[in-house]
Amino acid sequence: MSDPCDKCEEMMQPYLDGTLSDVEVEEAKIHLERCRWCAKRYRFEERLRHYVRVELSEAMSPELKARLVALKTPL
């Protein structure tokens, strides 16, 4: 893969997961500082992950909570 933006795209998930080596992180940072096109896509991915987590969080019903509490061993 020779295009630096293609390489940056491949590194996005491991970069955001913090699983790249120090050398690779440095490499990605240098590219992201210079390339607003990639930097924007990284920011979007971070926002997307947060958005997905928030939008998909559904609270449990009080009925279920009560049923679970009722499973406790009586004292």
């Binding site: 992950r49 997905v52 559904e58 499973l71 406790k72």
Partner: protein
């Protein structure tokens, strides 16, 4: 509570065990919101999620002695839950998997959403608005379950790769590859459901 003083070794041991059990149950119940949040996205409906969480707690309370204190209780509960879910899944899996398994490169979603945004060079917030909550729910539900389980545990449950590997009983490398592909499938599904321009 018994009125007799703990005079023998046995009564002391029983009292100690009762306290440990109460503590275990309370700690497990404190995690129930987080357990439910993950369960809700592992299965299709709220009813299934509620059944699964209830069965998980029934089993966990029966098997509480098998939990090693000091280890990750939330991961232990999710291990029970995913095993119960797999037992159900194996029965259901007889119906063929019809979901397409298209995935796209990581920038694909952004590129297609940006193209569907009227203004030139929009900021990433504006682009994100192209995704509705319903579309996210559907897009995740359409990710084939092996990939979805991993995405749900790591990206919604915020479990580490190591915990996810233990919960799903697969190697860490498999967690990483399924997560990577699962996110790409999710993004492809999201691109297909974006709010039109």
């Amino acid at each position: 509570m018994s009125e007799s003083a703990p005079s023998t070794e046995d009564t002391r041991r029983l009292a100690q065990e009762a306290r440990a059990r109460v503590r275990f149950e309370e700690e497990a119940l404190e995690l129930s919101d987080q357990v439910y949040r993950v369960a809700r996205r592992l299965v299709g409906t709220r009813e299934e999620a509620e059944d699964l969480v209830q069965q998980t707690y029934e089993r966990a309370f029966r098997a509480w002695r098998q939990f090693t204190p000091g280890t990750n209780l939330r991961a232990w509960l999710l291990r029970i839950l995913t095993n119960l879910n797999i037992d159900r899944g194996r029965r259901q899996q007889r119906t063929p998997q019809t979901t397409s398994i298209d995935e796209a490169a990581d920038y694909f979603l952004y590129n297609s959403l940006e193209a569907a945004t009227p203004e030139d060079n929009p900021d990433e917030e504006r682009v994100l608005e192209k995704l509705s909550q319903d579309s996210i729910v559907e897009a995740l539900a359409d990710v084939p379950h092996d990939f979805r389980d991993t995405v749900v545990l790591v990206d919604i449950g915020e479990f580490s790769y190591a915990d996810a590997a233990q919960i799903l009983d697969i190697p860490i490398g498999t967690v990483m590859s399924r997560l990577h592909r699962g996110r790409r499938i999710l993004k492809k599904n999201l691109a297909d459901r974006a709010v039109p321009a």
